[in-house]
């Protein structure tokens, strides 16, 4: 059950990213004439992804975690100084020419129902990737592959001709996963795959993803706002805030001894299912909301809500310090001595 940590540093990464940026044009005008401004949703993120690992990405809403996933998939345009999937340098390759990578990198979306086409039945939904990437297959071969995949995700053959609205949320999410694994991809990006599900179904989907990872040697990027879920499935965890990477580290260390004050604040905010401890807990709360990403604070983006912030934090943006044990971007980290 325990995920084994496969990250040996010498291993060749599946994905290398340096200084990835995603910008959206937004209309900032109050008057008649449009005035376009750039909203930078992801600003300069760099990391490596290794084969067989699960990288968790956590952060509050609006921190850019979904934009990051879409940019890695090549669903939205992005700028970077390096973006390399499986030895293919895609740094300046237009999105239309990403083809081969898209086959090996698949995505599972948050809302299980609305991410499935309501007018297609389950067979058509799951076989669509095959029709695109393996046009030579006959209808029987496609159906056989779909049935095999359905069984893999714990569904029965009887759902083959059903439509999404006839299925429950958990079943729809299993179909979303089946659609993602039918091409035997190397990497699956999961964007909040369990947050729309009931608690008892959540655990089933998490277990399914883990099991598939073992069986198919998948690499997962698991995006969620729920720290407990991320802790249960990930080997390494990235914490994001306002488009910036605040901390990246091995799960055990990051949850036990976070270096960044923001990570600590996130952990403190999660109520524990333990009434005796909870009642006597004194909260140190983050005040206020996330600043608008259109108008991010200068210096460290977190300094407006941080209790360790000083003048330096407001002026200068901390660079990302990477070391063996911990990687963080902070002037005043919480380091255990």
């Amino acid at each position: 059950m325990t995920p084994t940590a496969p990250t040996t540093p010498r291993q060749q990464p599946l994905l290398q990213v340096l200084d990835l940026r995603v910008r959206y044009p937004v209309n900032d005008s109050l008057g008649f004439w449009p005035k376009t401004r750039q909203l930078e949703a992801v600003k300069g993120i760099g990391f490596n992804l290794y084969a067989g690992e699960t990288l968790g990405v956590v952060g509050e809403s609006g921190c850019g975690k979904s934009s990051l996933a879409k940019a890695l998939m090549g669903l939205i345009p992005s700028q970077s100084s390096l973006l390399k999937w499986f030895d293919q340098d895609l740094t300046n390759i237009p999105l239309q020419r990403w083809g081969a990578v898209r086959r090996d990198v698949q995505m599972v979306f948050q809302d299980p129902l609305s991410s499935l086409d309501p007018r297609l039945n389950v067979l058509k939904i799951i076989s669509e990737p095959l029709r695109t990437h393996e046009p030579g297959l006959s209808a029987e071969q496609r159906k056989a592959a779909v049935i095999e995949t359905l069984i893999k995700v714990g569904l029965e053959e009887s759902v083959l001709y059903r439509y999404p609205h006839e299925l429950s949320g958990g079943q729809c999410q299993r179909i979303g996963i089946a659609r993602a694994i039918i091409l035997r991809p190397k990497v699956i990006l999961c964007d909040e795959p369990v947050s729309a599900l009931d608690v008892s179904i959540q655990a089933q989907i998490i277990q399914l993803l883990r099991q598939l990872q073992r069986e198919m040697n998948l690499t997962l990027v698991f995006i969620s706002h729920d720290l407990a879920v991320v802790k249960h499935i990930s080997h390494r965890v990235m914490v994001m805030y306002l488009g910036t990477m605040m901390e990246l580290g091995h799960k055990d260390r990051l949850f036990k001894e976070p270096a960044h004050p923001y990570t600590q604040a996130l952990l403190d905010a999660v109520p524990k299912a333990d009434p005796r401890k909870e009642r006597h807990k004194s909260y140190s709360l983050l005040s206020g909301d996330i600043p608008s990403p259109l108008d991010p604070p200068a210096g460290c983006v977190f300094h407006t809500r941080c209790n360790r912030a000083d003048a330096q934090c407001a002026l200068q943006e901390p660079s990302f310090k990477a070391s063996e044990s911990s990687s963080y971007a902070c002037w005043h980290p919480l380091l255990s001595t």
Binding site: V199, A203, A269, L286
Partner: protein, 340 residues
Amino acid sequence: MACATRWTRRTAEVSTHSSLLEVKNLNVHFQTPEGELQAVRDLSFSLRQGETLGVVGESGSGKSQTMLAMMGLLANNARAEGQVLFKGDNILNLPTAQLNRVRGPRLAMVFQDPMTSLNPFLKIERQMTEVLQTHQNASRGQARAAALQMLEKLRIADPLRCFNSYPHQFSGGMRQRIMIAMALLSQPDVLIADEPTTALDVTVQAQIVALLRQLQQEHGTSIIMVTHDLGLVASLSDQVMVMYGGRVMEHAQADDIFYNTRHPYTRALLESVPRLEHADDALLAIPGMPPSLRNMPPGCPFAPRCARADNDCQHPAPLRLVTDGAADHWFACHHTDAPA
């Protein structure tokens, strides 16, 4: 940043007088083209002043319908039976005019989705002052002053600017705080919060929780907290009611629910939720899915997913008291009086 709220055990301060709100044998039926469905079965609980009741359950467990029935907000095809006694008077199925003297001023509700429960066409000022003008015949000036004061109490920066804004100009957390401010304006005796933080980030959720605790200590408001988040229940509740398939599965003091669990469903729920404080990666999923109202099992609703189910479970299990444990620990299971 610094805002530390110390939370002391509330149960000691809860008045021992008779209950403020008492629900007896509540049943909710829906008339549908496919026949009559029962969403809530034989539900009873009581709430004292200053006490917090946590109601836990998955979707379709009947937790929201219970709250809507109490507030007289059920859909047109629904029928509620039983008694909802507020300070001794039955308020269930009262005519709207009489009901409005109680709901709103005395019983207030905060809904799950702060996005859709505010009127997008009206400024916050109008929406907030309306409460006092309707329920307390306050003048516009009085209502304005009271509303501003409430916004300040909820630590909303620049209440005046907030007054002149429309709901879409706020973030989810701000909107939820405005909803809570509206619910508290008439100083209700009971605040019903239906998944108040589900749509919010954890840091904002922690702010709202701290706020509810503070308000409860200041005003002695009773709170009914409907949620699926066991952590939230642990941090706020005095008593906890676990619901499944329209029935109460277990109902006890919060500590007994968490440390002295009797019902297999409660146990399974506690084990299937990923928790930060658990070091190991053990996560025991419950097989199957929650029953739909259309084909509810005839006996215990949890039986098809329960590891302990046998022939007895084909008959519904009545709620019974734990014999050797704490007082007021009820559970509905044919098996085991020993901790599950």
